[in-house]
Amino acid sequence: MIEMEDVYKKYPNGVVAANGINVSIKQGEFVYVVGPSGAGKSTFIKMMYREEKPSKGAIMIDGVNLAKLKESKVPIFRRNLGVVFQDFKLLPKLTVYENVAFALEVIEESPKYIKKRVMEVLDLVGLKHKSRMLPTELSGGEQQRVSIARSIVNSPKVMIADEPTGNLDPETSWEIMRIFEEINTRGTTIVMATHNREIVNTIRHRVIAIENGQIIRDEQRGDYGYES
């Protein structure tokens, strides 16, 4: 599903954020990406949704080589991908429903399909009853659920999450993880960068640790491995 071969990334300012990364993630896997700040975690994640291009090497996602993907084909590629962020990235003036529908409107889906599909995913994240509220009227956890709903509304095969629980209290974080688990059991591959030791050590999955732009550890059902 996701293959990285000898991936290097050097930023124009000289920082080497990826220094020969090789990794293979299969369909349906759930992977934690851990490591100290500034170790190249974010670059690793960003290259997967083609926000950053590798300087060298190949990144294959679902048969598409991101290193060679034309700029004009990036939007089409992203439709098969869900992305969730620490800061939710919701539009404050749109309601919960509109925020989720937005993702389908901009790819020109039919209004009938949009209506049906948006209610479906809102139901999945348990926010059907709050569809008319504005993001500011929701708690942080609820906002993150809206953002998750938006990311899966395209039924993506891969979901990428960059510290999705970073802004949430522990209680709410577990809630979010339950939803991720649910999405994962439906067959979606999930790659999640996180600093949350408790989650990594409790809900055991594959752990990839990145330091200085390299993978220093890759184990199935691994633990967080850093002293906090």
């Binding site: 992203r78 990235k89 993702a103 901009v106």
Partner: protein, 297 residues
């Protein structure tokens, strides 16, 4: 593009225009001022051109016949002029006819010249028309060499002066207009830049969820086009109203002359079309500048 999408883009760009009301107003005004000047300038230039062409097409050579010439000499001269290759027509006008013309053209004040009917100081004249206006000078020089052709005059000097005046004012005007066009484009691109910055988050999300680049760009293009076309409305209305009045006023004065202004009917539509197109062009260009710079997609 689907109709639904077009509706969305139009709605979106209208909303943006409303949101940045004052900037929109400033850019529309800049376009209005620019197009107003372009329009007035264009109308004047086209009419001057028309007048010059009218005059040029009408110019003829007036050959004064020497007083010493006899009837036979006159006929010989006429025959020689007619033989020139580029000559179209030759008309004879006796000195009595010339005086009558003069008196008629001066109106009331012409009465005084009636005194000259006894002792006419004017010349008999051959009025020569060439086949093409450009041959005037050549033909005039040839006739000058003939016997009994005492004075050869043609209106080329006036026409040349008029054309050189038109040429100069056109150049000056074009420089002025280009400067104004750039000002308008700059203002439009600034207005759109503000919209883009205000909607940065929305654009970022659009890109994350897979909106195509053209989908993201379209509302901004439309915004530019709308500003441009809105800016052309006032100039079109004002110029066509003004031209209607001026046309009626000036045509009345020119009644019976060979000089005429351009007719309302095709001309005003041409001007309106030109201004709308120019407005849209300024708008598109202005939006292109900011979209390219601030939407790095």
């Amino acid at each position: 593009m689907k109709a639904r999408t077009i509706r969305r883009h139009v709605k979106e760009s209208l909303r943006n225009l409303g949101r940045n009301g004052w900037m929109t107003f400033a850019s529309v005004s800049a376009v209005t001022v620019t197009l107003m000047l372009v329009g007035v300038f264009f109308v004047i230039m086209m009419n001057l051109n028309k007048v010059a062409t009218d005059i040029e097409e009408d110019v003829r050579i007036r050959v004064h016949v020497d007083i010493a010439a006899t009837k036979e000499d006159q006929q010989a001269l006429e025959a020689k002029i007619k033989q020139l290759a580029d000559v179209d027509t030759v008309e004879y006008s006796s000195k009595e006819a010339e005086l009558d013309n003069l008196i008629a053209s001066l109106g009331d004040e012409g009465e005084a010249f009636k005194l000259f009917e006894q002792d006419n100081p004017l010349y008999d004249v051959f009025v020569v028309k060439t086949k093409e206006p450009e041959q005037l000078e050549k033909v005039a020089k040839q006739i000058e060499k003939f016997e009994f052709a005492s004075k050869v005059k043609y209106g080329q000097d006036d026409v040349d002066k008029l054309f050189s005046f038109i040429g100069t004012s056109r150049n000056v005007g074009i420089i002025l207009i280009v400067a104004l066009l750039f000002t308008a484009m700059f203002l439009i691109s600034n207005t759109i830049k503000i919209t883009i910055v205000a909607r940065r988050r929305e654009i970022e999300i659009m890109r994350l969820v897979g909106a195509t680049n053209s989908f993201i760009r379209w509302p901004f293009f439309m915004e530019g086009i709308m500003i441009g076309v809105l800016g052309s409305v006032i100039p079109i209305v004002l110029i066509s109203t003004l031209y209607t009045y001026s046309y009626d006023y000036i045509s009345a004065k020119l009644e019976g002359h060979f000089i005429q202004l351009l007719e309302m009917n095709p001309f005003m539509y041409q001007v309106a079309g030109l201004l709308i197109l120019l407005g849209a062009f300024i708008g598109i260009w202005g939006s292109l500048m900011s979209v390219r710079k601030f939407l790095k997609i």
